[in-house]
Amino acid sequence: MSPPIAPVGWSRWLVPPAALSIHLSIGQAYAWSVFKPPLEDALGLSGTQSALPFQLGIVMLGLSAAFGGTLVERRGPRWAMTVALVCFSSGFLLSALGAATEQFWLIVFGYGFVGGIGLGIGYISPVSTLIKWFPDRPGMATGIAIMGFGGGALIASPWSAQMLESFGSDSHGIALAFLVHGLSYAVFMLLGVLLVRVPRPRIEEQRADGGPATAPGPQVSARQALRTPQFWLLWVVLCMNVTAGIGILEKAAPMITDFFADTSTPVSVTAAAGFVALLSAANMAGRIGWSSTSDLIGRKNIYRVYLGAGTLMYALIALVGDSSKPLFVLCALVILSFYGGGFATIPAYLKDLFGTYQVGAIHGRLLTAWSTAGVLGPLIVNWIADRQEEAGKDGADLYGTSLLIMMALLVIGFVANELVRPVHPSHHLAAGTAGTTAPAVAAQKGAPDDRHQQSESA
């Protein structure tokens, strides 16, 4: 399957919906918890066992994004979206079979292993293409797609719950729900497969005034990117930012309840659930909002905000969080918006540093930072909260040490971001290798804030 090249007159505004159709689907992964209680009842599973399909799915997401990225770049977005569609939908169909026959291993294999490959390939499938279509606004373009991943859970959570209510929570009801999910997502993702197009090669393009298109910035291969300090600095930046966000996300409901337990305005279980929902909204809004802002103020500056202001927000929660509920909520919302923004802005940061040549593959490799943070964040917060509880502490005191650690992590991320410099020209590809007409000397001029490589109206 060769990459589908856009016909003349094709609109670039058709590409974000293609990306969204994939990301809104695979974002369902974060709504897996809806299936946990029914599976536990129907198949006699423990909480740990019922989490296995999701956990394997996230592991496979990281692995397939890291190892499949180069293939995605070579075969193009339509191939990648097709693989994502087939794997993600097949995962549900296999799970349906597993639920119907009460074979839990088949659900783990289907949803976790097969579906997880779909998650990883699907996650990176539109990134490179979006950046190529929107060289003037890469932050906004990838922000739209990655916002979709957050939005996927918002859609799937109530939808799946309603389906289980209609079909029943026994094994046959769950099987039917999995079947409907698999078929529905296949149809929904098909739009992306049919719609996605890559821009025609630059050499065919001419500026409106008849002059040649502006030369692209530096181009670095995925393999070479791993040998640069910039890649690993961004790895640290992403890992620290995500860990700090997960620190709040993981314990959001008990945290707000504990913080205001001994006050005149305690938080009920229902209100805590509302707080968690509000955090999801901030997470999503941050993905599109902050990522788009990065197109205006530059990638390095926006990460200064995420990491610097994030530290400040954590400090406010630690110092005066239990004295004012609105302040606590506001700080948590800002932190979560930075968490989402960090995810969504990283592809554009990579593009600034490494060019568009294999940015999807580089992004895939960088997602291992997410996997690491996914383990690190909950581990820190839960372990420390347990130790504090054993020590007889309660209320806001349970989280004091965790908050300090989160602040320290954000400071490490801030320092790493400060150390990011343009990639040394010795890592750049030779002229013509990246399929562009850019002379190597032009590539050497690239910098992290080289935001307007190609002037075009939008």
Partner: protein
Amino acid sequence: MTDTSSQNPPDGSAGKDRRPLIAFTWLWVGAPLAYGLYELVRKATQLFTG
């Protein structure tokens, strides 16, 4: 959101109207997202009423 993409051709096919397709595709992804956001807002209001 205008349609002057980087694929502006020099030939006559630039006049082909993609707006209905653009509207359909954005509706395709926008409708379920709006449903998700509606459910989210319903739940989030519990913070202030619950």
